[in-house]
């Protein structure tokens, strides 16, 4: 006769049910799902703060846009600046002609007379070749220049005196400090000299009253204007 141990049987069935892999899988899955959902909740909460921040930024941007709109059309500062600069440069960078006449009056010897004085604004284009990565680069520089032509008549007791006067005049012209303030003497085109001289007439003219010898010579002086450093308002 077998003895029935119902309690033992019940315990075995309960243990088998507890350790049922299907049940355990479902429970484990539920736990993992809860953990995932909790993590999702944390993420969602954090995103709430981010959404508030985003909204505040959108509002801030809209306010700024409205503020800019109330200002009206934008100022074209570059255009206004260019306009002012044009007027300023016009005033600042011009070569004063009266100063050139004054200079000539100051350096001209008493036995000389200015027969002709010509001044003409021009542009001097200089080219510099630089070595670039892809070969030589030619840089062109445009400098406003003033070309001066002076024709002077000199009289003296003899030809030596005429030539001495001419040379003294040329030297005085070269050394004159006044034009150095606003211009520099530059070499004439096709020459290395800053002053070129052409003797037009050199003769002995017997004229007791005004001297026995006379010379007429032409001087050419190209001047490049110095650009003063100045600030616009």
């Amino acid at each position: 006769m077998h003895l029935l141990n119902l309690f033992h049987e019940q315990q075995r069935i309960q243990r088998e049910r507890d350790l049922d892999p299907v049940r355990l899988t479902i429970l484990g899955g539920l736990v993992v799902a809860i953990v995932i959902l909790l993590y999702a909740g944390v993420l969602y909460t954090r995103m709430g703060g981010l959404r508030v921040e985003l909204e505040a930024r959108r509002k801030g941007l809209a306010q700024l846009d409205a503020q800019i709109k109330t200002l009206g059309p934008l100022t074209d500062l570059a255009r206004i600046q260019g306009q002012a600069q044009l007027l300023e440069e016009r005033r600042e960078f011009r070569i004063p002609v009266a100063t050139q006449l004054d200079l000539l009056r100051d350096v001209i010897p008493t036995n000389c007379q200015v027969r002709l004085f010509k001044t003409r604004r021009d542009m001097q284009i200089s080219e510099t070749t630089l070595e670039g990565r892809k070969g030589p680069i030619v840089v062109k520089k445009v400098v406003p220049v003033q070309n001066l032509v002076i024709e002077v008549e000199t009289r003296g007791k003899d030809k030596v005196e005429v030539l001495q006067t001419r040379d003294r005049f040329l030297e005085d012209l070269r050394q004159a400090p006044r034009p150095k303030k606003w211009a520099v003497q530059v070499p004439a085109e096709g020459s290395s000299n800053t002053i070129t001289r052409v003797d037009l007439v050199s003769s002995q003219t017997p004229d007791a009253a005004r001297g026995a010898a006379m010379g007429i010579f032409e001087i050419r002086i190209p001047l490049a204007l110095k650009e003063p450093s100045r600030d616009l308002p």
């Binding site: 899955g29 799902a33 995932i36 308002p233």
Partner: protein, 187 residues
């Protein structure tokens, strides 16, 4: 514990189902939230950059307006000196006024276009360059003082060409000056 064939089949199927459900939850909820968060972070950065850009534009505009005011005052001050009427009439009147002060007579006046290329800077500007020529007879110093006065009283005028020649014979001291001036005029 030995599992029956049927139990093992159930376990495998449950495991696959559980993994599928968890994967779906992860993909559709968590990954969705992460992607949304990244998008929002990017949006935040973009908005921050836009705000900074707008603020800069606003500040620049305020600064430009202040600077433009100074430039415009400067321009207005110089524009008062520009010809408002017919340019030739303006030239003749202004130059004659200076000439009278030095007891000189202005002759042979005419409009003469400025030299080619000299008005290149005036492209896209509300001004143009106009030229005017005239002649004067007088003593060297007299013409020199006239020119000095002209250059001081009309600072936007520039002498482009000057030809100054002495007389001959008894009027050696009388010089003839031919001048070509340029001036800025409104377009």
């Amino acid at each position: 514990m030995k599992l029956s064939q049927e139990k093992l089949r159930q376990f495998v199927l449950t495991l696959i189902l559980a993994l599928g459900i968890l994967g779906a939850i992860w993909h559709f909820i968590v990954q969705g939230l992460i992607a949304q968060r990244e998008k929002n972070e990017q949006e935040k950065e973009r908005l921050a950059a836009q705000i900074a850009e707008r603020k800069k534009a606003y500040d620049t505009e305020i600064h430009n307006r202040d600077a433009a005011k100074v430039y415009q005052d400067f321009i207005a001050q110089w524009e008062k000196r520009l010809p408002r009427e017919n340019v030739e009439t303006w030239f003749v009147r202004e130059i004659s006024e200076v000439a009278v002060r030095h007891k000189l007579q202005v002759a042979n006046t005419a409009m003469q276009p400025p030299r080619e290329g000299s008005d290149a800077k005036f492209n896209n500007q509300p001004y143009r360059l106009v030229g005017f020529r005239f002649e004067l007879d007088g003593e060297y110093n007299q013409i020199g003082r006239f020119l000095e006065d002209l250059e001081n009283s009309l600072p936007l005028i520039e002498v482009d060409d000057l030809e100054f020649s002495a007389g001959t014979g008894v009027v050696r001291h009388i010089h003839k000056a031919a001048l070509h001036l340029t001036m800025i005029a409104p377009r």
